[in-house]
């Protein structure tokens, strides 16, 4: 796959999901799979086979980091970059989040007009690692 095509979004807020869908499909032209929570993501990942995952951090039930840990164990997720989305913006907190093993971080509020472009570096970076492995 030489192009970013399929983006899976895991976000518990319905309105933010709508913004994300609008941004990634209408502006970005990607195929998307919207998941309202971690459990749904774990079910959908092997079916949808995303190229990149946008993962909300603070969710009820399974949190972002917990979902990430579970996703990492799935063969379909090998080499797929996972980008955290968070309302936290303090530099020290961002550092901590990256320790969980996410490829990158997008801070809320984000710009929906530029989001499709902003996730490209994470896809390229993540993909590069997969090829080397």
């Amino acid at each position: 796959m030489s192009e970013l095509r399929r983006v899976m979004c895991v976000e518990d807020d319905a309105d933010i999901r709508m913004i994300l869908e609008f941004s990634l499909t209408t502006v970005g032209g990607y195929d998307v799979c919207m998941c309202p929570g971690g459990r749904s993501a774990l079910q959908q990942a092997p079916v949808f086979r995303p190229d990149l995952v946008l993962l909300d951090v603070m969710m009820p039930d399974l949190s972002g980091p917990e979902t990430l840990a579970a996703l990492r164990g799935m063969p379909c997720m090998r080499g797929v970059p996972v980008v955290f989305m968070t309302a936290k913006a303090m530099p020290d907190e961002l550092e901590q989040l990256l320790q969980h093993g996410a490829t990158g971080l997008i801070v809320k509020p984000f710009d929906p007009m530029t989001l499709p472009k902003d996730i490209l570096p994470y896809w390229e970076h993540g993909r590069g690692r997969h090829v080397l492995a």
């Binding site: 913004i19 609008f22 309302a87 020290d92 007009m113």
Partner: protein, 473 residues
Amino acid sequence: MQLQILVVDDIAESRRSLCDLVVTLGHVAVGADSGEAALALLQHCRPDLVLLDLLMPDMDGFEVTRRMRELDGGRWMPVIVTSSLQGEEHFIHALENGADDFLARPVSPGLLEAKLRHYGDVLALQGQLSSLAQRQSDILDNILDPVLTLDAAGRVEEFNRAARTLADLRGEPLGNGAPCSALFGMELNALLAQRECRLRRVGGEEFEAEVGLSEWREHGRVHFTLVLRDLTEQRQVERMKDEFLATVSHELRTPLTSVLGALGLLAGGAAGALPAPALSLLDVARRNGTRLSRLIDDILDLTKLEGDRLVLHQRPQLLAPLLREALTANQGYADRAGVKLAAEGLDAAAVEVRLDADRFQQVMANLLSNAIKHSPAGETVQVQLWTSPQGTRVTVRDRGPGIDPRFRARMFEKFSQADGTDRRAQGGTGLGLYITRMLVERMGGRIAADDVDSGASFSIWFPVDEAAPVPHG
């Protein structure tokens, strides 16, 4: 003072007459007819003073005196020996065996009265001293924090009840004579520099404590009083506040994400072309949404700064690359405003300053965005790096209208902007310069507005770190 006096004499008549004399003098008398009887009595009652005849058949007075001293519970009980023998050798012998005084028989009432008054005074004084000491001890024991007294070498001399819960590094309860290092893991010199330390309780529980240490002298000898305050509850409250802040931050930013997101998509034409008036309205909405977002950021920063909970990662950093990064980050904004960015002094000798790189970028972002915001199109905002043996200075200079003199005095304070209209038009929060100042000061620097003929200039000054090694050659 009325005394309880034990009269020990095997001869009934002399015992009785001495008891009568004691009572006449205003005291209470109890009689014992032998050494054994006296010692038995002392098992369950404690007289204030003993009048003891030296010559008794079962046990001589010397032996009784010795045995009495053994029974002594720590409080002094004067023993006056009496004897009708001539010569002083037996009195000297008695005194050497623990007697406090002697009276020759027949006992002179005047002499007895004088001695009893004297010992009464001494016992009263001793009683006062004892209650004073007990009071001090009670006060210390009712202090909930552990209080320890250390000697000049840092060894524990005494400690209050609260300190009994403390254990040394091996888990053993605290004891007198324990060296400073056994309890704190460091010598006294190191402890003097600490404001906090980690301690252990008997039972293994560890906790953090605030260290209050002060030095005093007694007869030229140095002592230290050490007060330890358990910080566990304070830390918990701080953690709760941080959690609350994180939740508030999330709760406020979540709806804002949708608001700004929807407005951004509309303004970007993602839902179709919109007529100009609609776009203007969208502009208003987005501008204020962004302002709200920045306000949330600033207030969270502020709460952490003022609560002293902002964690700074201070490290020596090369300034030139940081400044170049700041310029790049703000280039987009400058381009959109038609303002040029220039730098001076970045290529000079590698200047290193101890600071938090991320927070420094935050400061530079504030200063640069202010400068760009106030610059007319076509003008240049200049960043200057200047270094001297005393320290390093970073200046941000713009050619805008300059600082309103009415505003200048309060410029670095909270919610101060030139006036209300400026705030609305420029989308600021009124907190930027205040937070900038707090961050600069927390990083060890100073910020000020410079006096310039035109435009505005802000300088951050980092003095040379005295603790850093001076480079040679």
